[in-house]
Symmetry: C2
Subunit: 559 residues, 2 copies
């Protein structure tokens, strides 16, 4: 048997190693057009930021070690320029010698990845404008920062990699500005969670332009001028383009393989392309989103590695294992904050026509009485019919990654909010509370699902009319420090004694800081003749973050 | 409606609050024989250790705040001395005034908890010998340490609380000795994980006596002499008894309620005792272990809180929600190390006659190229028939709690190792690797389940005979630094070229440091005519910990 693999990073390297474990005697050739194989591409921003100081650490394997350990013929700096599925050959070009040659295969695996988008803007060819995909890009960026003694950076794109780059450049002491076309950073998140991140970014003195775009670049005496759609012009010593990536489907298309609706290489449930002897894995493939049923691509290392293992199993043993798709669990550290998502965001569920309810809770990372507890926000979206969990988004510090992982595991197996309620967490004071944040998210979702809690959302406060009542049940001190316009204050502990101040004829919209006291207030009122009572999901804290960001955006768009 | 609750800590307080949320107009009385309600009993060791410095933080609620928020009649320092289920009354005694009176109930909830065992040893009444259950005990211990300027502590019992006390006393600067009757600390763990903990404890200069017991105490000029079964006599300024706890079933038994085989108060799936108007929650109840099917009690805050919520639902709405039992997920910080378990340990599965396979893996807490990654050990036990996950044990530092929680959620819903394989974790370099430790545990378990990997265990190395081969596939440097007696060394990367040194007729027992290279070696050999090849689960690292502890124990028992 002769296996050829094109692309030697996450998906390709993982497929090759697994192929060898399953088939000791096959011939395995892996082509990589770059200089390096199996490198830590998720670590590149951190190497630029000098969080990772040893460049050697970026290499999980070298061509030599991979060959020695797995007996695999690794050909770096060799680009495959064509595939002939009829003859079952690939054409390869050695980038150093220029040699062009053919190799035959029994089974071929495509792992070409996705390439960064570099839009044809005026002046984009100027020095100092970079994209980041591989180790060579990283080396260029690092050298450029050092030699130019760069002081000002503009990061174009507020996605995961853009934010990681911003954090790392900020860490190096550069003055950083982020430009994002959308109305929020991190597109896979819903606005409220993005608002938390944005408030955090701004609080650290990083400049953030939303609803804006770069229209071009100009070389100046000092460096670069970055022209924005808004008319603003920013000075920059270095620009990082993190606008996004695009599946590299050229080879596949050239070979006549089917390209899907999601613009990725089409594969069936066995990761087999439209040609049965060609499989594909990684960022370039598309598959069905398990929640929306729509075709999608994903650019994540975890799924790529898992696909590699499944692909090799199917090649050697004959389509024995299905790939069940990815729920797009993703996380990023943003200036020390942890933010992530699993499943499909509410805005995308809406777009896909999937009915769902959103609930936001806020809990401590561990017992409040134990030092160091930090607040985290959890937003869940679930089916109002059967409680199936569609999405979880988490923003916080310590332990936010843990809760996201637990929620991801529930979404992955089509679990419901019952599992959040029953989840039996490992509790000791340094790790959690007697009721874990995941339990709390489940309890509140269950209360909503069973009709014990009616909620309203931060963007609905402006719909509260003159005939309605907005009721702040926090303490007078909290109220005085800031409240939602039009709200009256009756602290929760006084509510039972002051019910005569309220009319049972009105809609009552309650809020507290995070949602718990509001829920208690609602329980009291609903059992006392008040029929139309609603509690603000996420509380005043979430409302404040969201409205602050809405105002901020408006100002920035205008100016 | 009139609800009476006996016991105002975790389970009782949680039931009372939920009852109020569901029934605003009921009369709710809660009796607590101690001075405080709803205190943070899991925080008590940390208050003694001055990790928690503000005593007020120990109180989640006070009687006054609980009354104000929930309109609940809280009666502290009032012991319920009897229940008359026929008349539906309880007899209460005010510990301050001595008043004795009756109260009637419609529904009664028992949450008496479990009391610490204080064995009738000679001299146990001496000053300076304490158990720890509540805030008052904590105050006594704290004062005693301070006034006596205690320098030496003996902790009797190496369970979770014993180890937390040892850590906190050590943190205060005391010289600490732990005495444990069993052959390991932390009885819910299997020996290999306990061995990791023990090695860690010893490395910090804490004295640990296993297979030993206290036979009595004597007052000395300086403080206390603690006599051990082994003949040793230890000096101590203070002794903490953490031998265990026992469900407090006196009231229930006195009322004629059924006490179960597990020695706890019997409840049905609705948490209802043998009397339909009396429910019970918390440490005093027993229920069916979802894995073994046997009756058991558990002493954990998480389950108690969840039971409280379910119990209240069932009381108000009429047995609407089943309690599905606890899988005993538990965690503890031991001198900075994180150790925990979920499900039923291998030794207990064996005792229950449940066929299972154990596999141990070792992984970094996050990507090795990102600073600060720490190794963690994961042991899983699963069904060799269908892969159902029965148990997970984790020992490590950063992120060990996260992996335990994920594994707990799989065990809780009767999941299989497939879920570990498919688990889609949130990966960015600070949080995990492209393959999470949970994935790795799943991959290895799947390889075992599907027959791609044959393993042997650390305690089977002594069964390797002269006709067998023990093969160390680590590097020569690793081999020279220490190896298992009788092993020859062929580094993995030389194996393909040196196969002629091996006989296909022999059983070959392979090991490497943690298990991965051994697995690769086995794949190579099994596909090259070697049919009887086994890989050491957990590798040399686990073997070394375990054997070091076995030797240590033997020595300590002898001396």
């Amino acid at each position: 048997m002769r296996y050829i693999i094109i692309g030697a990073v996450a998906g390709g390297a993982s497929t090759a190693a697994r192929l060898r474990r399953l088939d000791e005697h096959a011939e395995i050739i892996i082509f990589e057009k770059g200089e390096y194989i199996s490198y830590a591409n998720c670590g590149l921003p951190y190497y630029i930021g000098e969080v990772i100081t040893d460049r050697n650490k970026l290499f999980v394997q070298t061509a030599a070690s991979f060959n020695q350990r797995f007996n695999i013929d690794v050909r770096v700096l060799t680009e495959v320029t064509g595939i002939d599925p009829g003859k079952k050959t690939v054409t390869a070009e050695n980038q150093v010698t220029g040699d062009v040659y053919e190799e035959t295969y029994d089974k071929l695996v495509l792992s070409p990845g996705a390439g960064p988008i570099r839009p044809p803007l005026p002046g984009i060819g100027n020095d100092g404008i970079f994209t980041l995909r591989n180790v060579s890009d990283t080396d260029y960026i690092k050298k450029y920062i050092y030699h130019k003694q760069a002081k000002k950076a503009v990061v174009v794109g507020g996605g995961f990699i853009g934010l990681e780059m911003a954090e790392n450049l900020h860490g190096l002491g550069l003055d950083v500005t982020i430009i994002e076309m959308g109305n929020q950073v991190m597109a896979p998140l819903d606005f409220p969670l993005a608002a938390i991140v944005q408030q955090h970014i701004r609080s650290l003195g990083v400049h953030l332009y939303l609803n804006n775009a770069v229209t071009g670049f100009e070389q100046t005496d000092g460096g670069l001028a970055v022209n924005l759609k808004s008319g603003d012009v920013l000075d920059a010593d270095i620009v990082i383009l993190s606008i996004g990536v695009r599946p590299d489907t050229r080879l596949a298309a050239g070979a006549g393989l089917k390209i899907g609706e999601g613009r990725g290489i089409y594969v069936n449930e066995y990761l087999q392309t439209s040609n049965p002897d060609i499989y594909a894995v990684g960022d370039a493939i598309e598959f069905e989103n398990p929640i929306t049923g729509q075709a999608m691509v994903t650019y994540l290392a975890g799924p790529a590695n898992k696909q590699g293992r499944i692909c090799a199993n199917n090649i050697v043993m004959g389509n024995v294992q299905q790939y069940h798709g990815s729920i797009n669990t993703a996380i990023v550290q943003v200036f020390g904050m942890t933010v992530g998502t699993a499943g499909t965001a509410s805005k995308h569920l809406k777009a896909a026509g999937i009915k769902h309810t959103v609930s936001t809770t806020s809990s401590g990372s561990h017992a409040g009485y134990f030092p160091g507890a930090k607040q985290m926000t959890i937003q869940v979206a679930f089916s109002p019919d059967n409680g199936r969990l569609y999405n979880a988004q988490v923003a916080g510090f310590d332990g936010a990654d843990k809760r996201l992982d637990i929620l991801s595991s529930v979404i992955k197996r089509n679990g419901t909010i019952d599992e959040l309620v029953e989840f039996e967490h490992a509790y000791a004071p340094p790790y959690s509370s007697a009721k874990d944040p995941v339990n709390m998210a489940g309890f509140v979702a269950e209360n909503i699902l069973l009709g014990r809690l009616n909620i309203f959302y931060w963007d609905e406060t402006n719909k509260i009319g003159e005939d309605d009542l907005l009721l702040d049940v926090r303490s007078p001190e909290e109220y005085r420090a800031g409240y939602i316009g039009g709200a009256i204050n009756i602290p929760i502990d006084e509510l039972r004694g002051r019910m005569d101040e309220l009319s049972t004829q009105k809609n009552i919209y309650i809020y507290c800081e995070a949602g718990l006291r509001g829920y208690l207030a609602q329980r009291i009122l609903r059992q006392s003749g008040f029929n139309n009572v609603y509690n603000l999901s996420g509380g005043y804290r979430l409302w404040k973050n969201c409205t602050a960001e809405t105002e901020q955006n408006t100002i920035e768009v205008v100016c």
